[in-house]
């Protein structure tokens, strides 16, 4: 049977429909409710962003006369070895932390979905670390991941595994940070995944069971596709967070009382902060920020394009 598929409206038609919406009272009401956020976005986000774009073409330092330097800041950034180091570190950290975060969160959410009586307690327990300040997490990292006496390595020693020097060995600093930060902050993603798992229609599992599917097959072929929008959301958000990681690493390695940061722990956002607030190179820091923005934008677009193959939205064919 031939199926008639309605052609998707073109951009012009979509724009016309959007403007036509303003004829309705509900549209105005919606914008009225959105206005506090819109005001905040324009004043506190887009305004400073535009200002920083302008500053990125200057040698702005707040306290000295500002000069236009053209593309010099961008040119210098591309030739700055620390930028390359910081970017590489940030990519490696993100590449380890995001999959780890998603896997752990998914695993915990799957377990929680089965827990009946004490579900509320465990949900709270998993979410609690999310409430602790990130600065405290940075200090905890130094204690838990201490190479000689940290809880992690002591536990590994019971398994006859000699743990690495997570906080001092340049080869293990990034995996250690990724492990700590991604697992510690897993609570919010667990809640998102749990909600998504609970939303999967039961009849799909029943149908799979009738076909003799094992638990793993049910998870792989029913749960995962059905919660793929939630997974996609968590991946996108955590990728952006990973590329902007700052506070825990700064506390652990670049604070005044912990001046032990090396090339191995230098993250891109930390380098931007140093250029701006230690060396007063706000123009250069702005250029670095815009480069990071571009990198994040490109990665996000790639993820969105790739998601079309992997993410299933109900009602979509």
């Amino acid at each position: 049977m031939a199926t008639a598929i309605a052609a998707a409206p073109g951009p012009l038609a979509r724009a016309r429909r959007w403007f036509a919406g303003f004829g309705e009272r509900d549209t105005w009401a919606a914008f009225a409710f959105l206005s506090p956020w819109l005001f905040g976005f324009i004043v506190f986000t887009s305004g400073p962003m535009i200002a920083s774009l302008v500053l990125s073409f200057t040698d702005y330092s707040i306290i000295q006369t500002t000069h236009n330097v053209g593309w010099a800041n961008y040119h210098n950034a591309l030739h700055d070895p620390y930028v390359r180091t910081a970017m590489r570190n940030t990519f490696i950290y993100t590449a380890i932390s995001v999959p780890l975060h998603v896997i752990v969160a998914l695993w915990l959410a799957s377990l929680l979905a089965r827990v009946g009586r004490f579900g509320g307690f465990f949900r709270t327990a998993f979410y609690l670390p999310q409430m602790s300040p990130s600065v405290a997490t940075g200090i905890l990292y130094l204690l838990i991941f201490n190479g000689s006496f940290g809880v992690l390595n002591v536990a590994l020693r019971y398994l006859h595994i000699s743990g690495p020097y997570w906080t001092t060995d340049p080869n293990w600093v990034k995996p250690g940070l990724a492990l700590m930060i991604s697992v510690w902050g897993v609570g919010a993603s667990v809640v998102i995944f749990l909600a998504a798992i609970k939303g999967v229609p039961q009849h799909l599992y029943e149908a799979a069971a009738m076909d003799g599917a094992s638990s793993w097959r049910k998870f792989r072929d029913v749960t995962l596709p059905m919660i793929s929008p939630a997974i996609f959301f968590v991946v996108i958000i955590n990728t952006i967070n990973g590329l902007q990681t700052f506070d825990q690493v700064y506390t652990a390695f670049f604070n005044q009382s912990t001046p032990y940061g090396t090339n191995a722990s230098l993250m891109y956002a930390i380098y931007i902060f140093q250029q701006a607030f230690s060396f007063l190179k706000f123009g250069y820091a702005s250029a670095l920020s815009w480069l990071l923005f571009l990198v994040i934008a490109v990665i996000t677009i790639i993820q969105i394009v790739a998601s079309r193959r992997f993410v299933y939205y109900e009602g979509q064919r």
């Binding site: 330092s61 707040i62 306290i63 000295q64 130094l142 204690l143 201490n146 190479g147 000689s148 006496f149 940290g150 020693r157 020097y165 906080t167 001092t168 060995d169 340049p170 001046p259 032990y260 940061g261 090396t262 090339n263 191995a264 140093q274 607030f277 230690s278 060396f279 007063l280």
Partner: protein
């Protein structure tokens, strides 16, 4: 007497002491009262502090008059720059002396020539090394306040247990010091360090080690870095050899991170370290937390066996655009004068006596105040602390600091990163310091354009 009555009597005594101290400080006269233009003196970086800070602040407030606005928290570059950017800089800032040069070179601070003249501030009372730190292009940009000095802190028990003589803990004799460190260090069955013999305190004290090897890492005018001078490379190589002989950086730092540094189970109390160079304020921590430890303070010596001291500390500076520079100047003078320091010292000594905790004195940037504080307020704690306090006072005359530079922050980052790369095994001392020299030179050049 009932408990609450005892508490009441004690509280009354303490309050009386505080009032007396403040009154005594005020009575000793601080020159003319400053004229506060808009009625408020805005200070940044000097939030509510301990008894020493508050006693002096009370005196300075009386001297200056008007409203004193002191938001909480210490100096923060972000907050300061935001205030400057908004066209509303504070009248006075309290910050690390090492930051003064950079801000002065960029024109953020006022030279204090007229302040010193109008308030008749005797700059000779302040320690020269501290004044050098805040002098840029022959102009003074700050008034020195606290003064941190470094001595080698020795745990006598570790020495006795290891059979090491105190004479071996002398950087002037590198081979003997290395041998002593090896004798004092301890490992557990897993190969983890459980006691450090001698901690060179890297990267923080690299300037001290370089100086011991005859190198000033920055020229007096703050415009020429000497980070890869052969002596500096030798100093770093030697400091690394000390760490490597005690298990290497990974084990060394992992163990050091477990210390209860400010607690009563600190590393000296638990004999977890033989000796290490340390700021003088740590004697106060020990006196409060573990007064029974047996310690010795040694002067840090250079290869010629002469005592040297790396000093750092804080200062008061007046930002350009300050609305009340006169009041700010009067405050800085009052806070750092001999009589104010004495009032604070008397108050602290009395408070410590009342609470039956030892008092080790206050180390200030004012050499006259230091002498008076020791003579008039110090009372014996025990032979160990008494000797340490004497040594701290004595070492002050051998001080050097890092001169003010237009690129202080970049310079510090360059040498600190270099030492960290060496510690992490990413570079040799020569490679790291060559790179640091290039970075520091480029930063200074850019800052002086």
């Amino acid at each position: 007497m009932q408990g609450w009555r005892k508490a009441l009597v004690l509280a009354t005594m303490l309050a009386s002491i505080a009032v007396l101290a403040v009154t005594a400080g005020l009575a000793s006269a601080h020159g003319n009262k400053a004229n506060i233009g808009n009625g408020t003196l805005n200070i940044m970086g000097f939030g509510k502090g301990d008894d020493v800070a508050e006693t002096r602040a009370a005196i300075a407030s009386k001297v200056v008059g008007g409203t004193i606005n002191r938001p909480s928290g210490s100096f923060n570059d972000q907050t300061f720059l935001a205030a400057v950017a908004s066209g509303n800089p504070p009248d006075l800032v309290y910050l690390d002396r090492q930051k003064v040069g950079s801000y002065a070179a960029k024109g953020a601070f006022m030279p204090l020539t007229s302040c010193i003249k109008s308030q008749k501030i005797n700059m000779k009372q302040y320690r020269q090394a501290a004044v050098n730190e805040i002098t840029y292009k022959n102009q003074i940009y700050g008034i020195p306040e606290f003064y941190d000095v470094r001595t080698i802190l020795v745990d006598n028990k570790v020495l006795d247990q290891s059979g090491v003589s105190i004479g071996a803990l002398n950087p002037a004799k590198p081979a003997a010091l290395l041998a002593a460190a090896k004798k004092m260090v301890k490992f557990d069955s897993n190969g983890n360090v459980t006691r450090i013999g001698f901690d060179p305190k890297m990267p923080e004290f690299f300037p001290l080690w370089a100086k011991a090897y005859g190198v000033d890492i920055l020229s007096k005018d703050g415009l020429h870095a000497n980070l890869n001078a052969p002596g500096a490379v030798k100093a770093l190589t030697y400091a690394m050899s000390l760490i490597n002989a005690q298990g290497g950086w990974n084990k060394f730092k992992s163990f050091r991170d477990t210390w209860d540094f400010f607690g009563s189970d600190n590393q000296v109390q638990k004999n977890q370290v033989g000796a290490w160079p340390m700021e003088q304020w740590y004697y106060n921590v020990l006196a409060s937390g573990s007064p029974d430890v047996h310690i010795t303070a040694l002067q840090f010596r250079n290869l010629k066996n002469q005592p040297i001291n790396y000093e750092t500390g804080s200062a008061w500076a007046i930002p350009k655009g300050a609305k009340n520079p006169q009041a700010a100047c009067a405050w800085a003078k009052a806070m750092t004068s001999v009589s104010t320091w004495m009032a604070a010292a008397r108050n602290r000594a009395a408070l410590r006596k009342a609470s039956k905790t030892p008092y080790t004195g206050i180390s200030t940037g004012n050499s006259i105040a230091d002498q008076d504080i020791y003579k008039q307020t110090y009372t014996s704690i025990n032979p160990f602390f008494d000797e340490a306090v004497k040594k701290v006072l004595d070492v002050q005359r051998f001080s050097f600091g890092i001169p003010a530079s237009p690129a202080s922050a970049e310079f510090q980052a360059a040498w600190q990163n270099a030492v960290n790369r060496v510690l992490a095994g990413q570079q040799t001392p020569k490679q790291a310091l060559d790179q640091a020299q290039k970075e520091a030179t480029a930063a200074i050049k850019a800052a002086t354009k």
